[in-house]
Symmetry: C2
């Protein structure tokens, strides 16, 4: 039987709040068995860019990354956010290592085509070296993955953290039984975004298609769920959409949206 691997993806909101982040990392540190954390960037990159006089431009929720912005995300994601988390986790007894896709060449990506939108130095995942990550896990080292990749020719690229989480989950599912947790600030997929009680506890692919058609599931949830169902189709064992505070309940009494095919 395959060993279990828990992969958590946390987004901006947790990273922007020191107390929430510390609570999350405390729970993450005590998760038994193999684990990986994938983090986004939060508002910090936008704030630092602003203070440096670099304008942030977003198209469909994605950051346009020119040379100056690439330097900001390399600094903020790869340096500030990633290294602070790694140091915090070491303080909590979790032997973490922070990685960009360039480190150990573990993710190569291709620069996104400039048509219809030129996102600049933004990369779409091309290949994950699952052996590089599995080798760390075998040594009880916990990878903390920043949303940065590279093209294998010397160029860093800015890459969406959800996409990194799903690519890594798929690549590692050959060797591990992977549970993938997309964490955010809502309890899961809701039929009414204003009402946390409207949580869909189990969401099948068919039900998702129908709710999407009805407009009940919309906006930012669509790329997230498309991504998430794709990982299930590609061999990931379990996929959950949940509030980041639920991390302490993953072994029992988890409140989340569980996806099923």
């Amino acid at each position: 039987m395959k060993e279990t691997l828990h992969i958590f993806k946390v987004g901006g909101k947790v990273i922007d709040d020191d107390q929430e982040l510390e609570a999350f990392l405390r729970s993450f540190a005590v998760v038994k068995s193999n684990k990986v954390l994938v983090h986004g960037g939060g508002k910090i990159a936008t704030e630092i860019a602003e203070r440096l006089g670099i304008k942030t431009q977003m198209v469909e929720g994605r950051r346009v990354t020119n040379q100056a912005m690439l330097e900001v995300v390399a600094m903020v994601y790869g340096g500030l956010v990633n290294k602070k988390m790694v140091a915090q986790l070491q303080g909590l007894g979790c032997n973490a290592i922070g990685l960009s896709g360039a480190d150990m060449n573990y993710i190569t990506a291709t620069k996104r085509p400039t048509d219809p939108v030129d996102y600049g130095y933004v990369g779409d995942v091309q290949h994950v070296d699952s052996q590089a990550l599995a080798g760390l896990l075998q040594q009880n080292i916990t990878p903390i993955l920043a949303p940065l990749t590279h093209d294998g020719k010397g160029q860093l690229l800015n890459t969406n953290a959800d996409a990194i989480a799903s690519a890594v989950a798929i690549a590692l599912s050959e060797q591990f039984a992977v549970n993938l947790y997309y964490c955010f600030e809502k309890p899961g997929v809701l039929t009414d975004i204003e009402d946390d009680a409207s949580l869909i506890e189990n969401l099948t692919y068919d039900a998702y298609q129908s709710l999407k058609q009805q407009g009940v599931i919309a906006n930012g949830m669509i790329p997230k769920l498309d991504n998430a169902f794709h990982t299930l189709q590609q061999g990931v064992s379990q996929v959950y959409i949940m509030h980041h505070q639920q991390i302490e309940h993953i072994q029992q009494h988890l409140t989340a949206t569980t996806l099923c095919l």
Copy 2:
């Protein structure tokens, strides 16, 4: 017989110049056998700090690191400089990994006492986990070390790159025959700082003491050479002080100051 390990320390001047850096990395990438690169920060941290409205304060050539400055050095050293180098090396066929001391817990440090000077979040190396680095080298992965450590309790610390290079060299000399190269913008130790032809090709510890007393060797060279002789005393095989462009000649015809006990 022990395998050879080459450890290079590069300072700010190389990092500040894209062309010099690329040339250095090209030569570094093709060095055969085990290798490690330790990098300083260059002027970029000072420039970014200034653009962010954070004042740089130096005491005896060392950066005073308050909370705001720690965030700058985590960003610049751990993110911008380190990750860009790693991506460049991958493009040159060298399987690099960028590390702060917190990553894999490979260096713990103690925050420097606040008396006589309060340097803030500056750490002095306490322990190097040589097995963590040796494990990477055995897998043909090349560590690229940023001048950042941690206290093991959750706190990142700013640490001098020369000190990291010497601590790592000493720790790895149990397992490897270590050649340590301190690279900078002069051909080595000079008797006349204005005259590159005044290079001292071989410098014994006794000669160093005498030149120091005569005031021939002074200022910034003293801590560097004290550090360097210390590593020789602690088991490092060879220590060189040299121009960074000499990296292409390390196998033969090296022009440098070679230290001897």
